[in-house]
């Protein structure tokens, strides 16, 4: 099944707060340093957002909320993406959409 790509989701998130995952270059350092070994977070998740795959993000809401916001990934990110802030924005968006 092919999913149609759109960029509205990223734009929507930017209205909620400061969301800056577009600089992500998919290197995977974040995944490597995550103390919870959350494989999804954050690079795969951010790609779902950039590609507009809102359902995928919703499917993974458990994982989004399991993040400790410890900033280990953010400290290591070579593209200087504000990962924890992005996760906060995503949580906000998920909560807004739940009621």
């Amino acid at each position: 099944m092919s999913t149609v790509v759109h960029r509205d989701l990223a734009d929507e998130l930017r209205l909620i707060g400061s969301y800056d995952a577009e600089a992500c270059m998919n290197c995977g350092v974040c995944t490597a340093v995550c103390p919870l070994e959350i494989a999804l977070l954050p690079r795969r998740l951010f790609r779902y957002v950039e590609l507009g795959l809102a359902d995928r993000v919703r499917d993974e809401s458990e994982t989004v909320f399991s993040c400790l916001l410890c900033r280990a990934c953010e400290e290591s990110c070579p593209a200087e993406v504000h990962i924890t802030e992005n996760v906060r924005v995503l949580r906000h968006w998920l909560l807004e959409g739940s009621h």
Binding site: E22, A23, L51, L53, A79
Partner: protein, 569 residues
Amino acid sequence: MSERRIGVYVCNCGGNISDYVDVEQVVEAVKDEPGVVVARRAMFTCSDSTQQEIIDDIQGQELDGLVVASCSPKLHTFTFRAVAQRAGLNPYEYTQVNVREQCSWTHTDDREGATRKAISLVRAGIARTRLTKPLEPIVVETTPRALVIGGGIAGMRAAIGLADVGLAVFLVEREEELGGRVGNLGELFPHGKDGRALIAQLAEEIRQRSEITVFTNAELTAKSGTFGNYRAVVHVAGESIHLEVGQIIVATGFDSYQPEAGELGYGIDGVLTLPEWKQLLDDGDGPVIVNGKPVESVAYVYCVGSRDAERPYCSRFCCSAAVHASLTAAGRDANVRQYHLYRDLRTYGRNELMLNESRQRGSLYLKFADDDPPDVARTDAGLNVTVRDLLTGGEELTIPADVVVLVTGMVPRCNDDLVGVLKLPIGRDGFFNEIHPKLRPVETVVDGVLIAGTCQGPKTSAESVASGLAAVTQAAAVLKRGVAELDPQVAVVHSQACTGCAECVETCPFGAISLVASDGGEIAAIDAAGCKGCGACAPVCPENAIDLEGYTDAQVRAMIDSLLVGAPS
């Protein structure tokens, strides 16, 4: 007994030779050969200390011949020629014997056999050296003018460079105007300069230099002559112009890959090649208009016509060029959505910064597998590109796009006539071939013919200019001296024995032999500057009237005889 005073040096090569060849036994076996005065072994013959030892021997013992038995002559011939020269011995009185590649490295299982073979080879080397005579380099005066073929950015910059070192230049361009591909381009990376402006500036610089003569609508149709002195015929406006030049620089550029109809949707409205897209970006401002509509979404498909079965090479410039085009598009309309579908991205060097910037300005990068290219289809709303994105776990995604840009690479330009005239070597990728990509990057196997720019392989404009200037340096190094020294190991005719049968004239692959009048008849004469010393003429002469200096019949016979010493009869 021989009158010669020969020194023989057998090398251990730090074990490379001595582990498999009994070097001491070799020295023992050859020290009493006729003519040998000194025979020694050395740990490393090429080391400074041993070189000095050889020089001391040559001077102290008044040696008139030198044999070094070590590695391949490809490695150290020039090293030991220089040793001879420093000691006051003619460099052609020296013979290199290869006991490493031909003995120790090949016969690691047979120390005795390897040693026996080494002894034979050294004996043969001594036999050759007994018959050497001093040779002097062939000195030719060179013509202080250069011919540049192709008036694109590389050729134009090369012409200016040659003029600035004081050489006269003929610049030949097939089209009506100078400028080539860059002359039609707008902003270029990495410097952000405008291609058209750059070419206009170079054209003005050329106009200001009286040393440069430009021929447009012109083509090279013939070339003859020998190293440093070539005669070129240029066809221009129905006329043939004869030019005398010392070096020729070929800078004939590239062609863009033209996708076949249907290849990734090429032929559908809105599916463009990178040069077509670049043209749209370079003209006008504000959002780009395609089919009467502003472009809101662009999908780039990378590696089109590169890195496939037919063209396995990477076209190098196109990743950076596509990223740069996307930045230009973002500059014209900040809201344009851009998707880059790539196999591998190589925005090498500082161009990585462009890639980062493009990401920050909203370009999204998706990676597809080599064997799973995207699909481009027309829909009512525009175009749909479907791709399996490896960076999102192989998710199949459909990207709606107004424009699909096929990032096409460079392909070799068809220049069969020029290739025929100059006998240019063509590499496996179809581009002209240099001798060595790093060590001799602008020289070809054809003496005096240099290559520069994209006729040699895909390059950015900046790299083309750099290679044009490299060709200038190479050409100037030859021409500014005014004379060139050529290897004297060439063929010579014994005029008494020659009957003028012209067998050799037919055989010479370099056209260096001709018949000249002599005593009422005709005999062969060899142009020493044109002769490459290949030796093809010597064996075909029915009268044995041709000898190759340094490898005369007498020398070769003596070598064979000494190789047969001790052989079972």
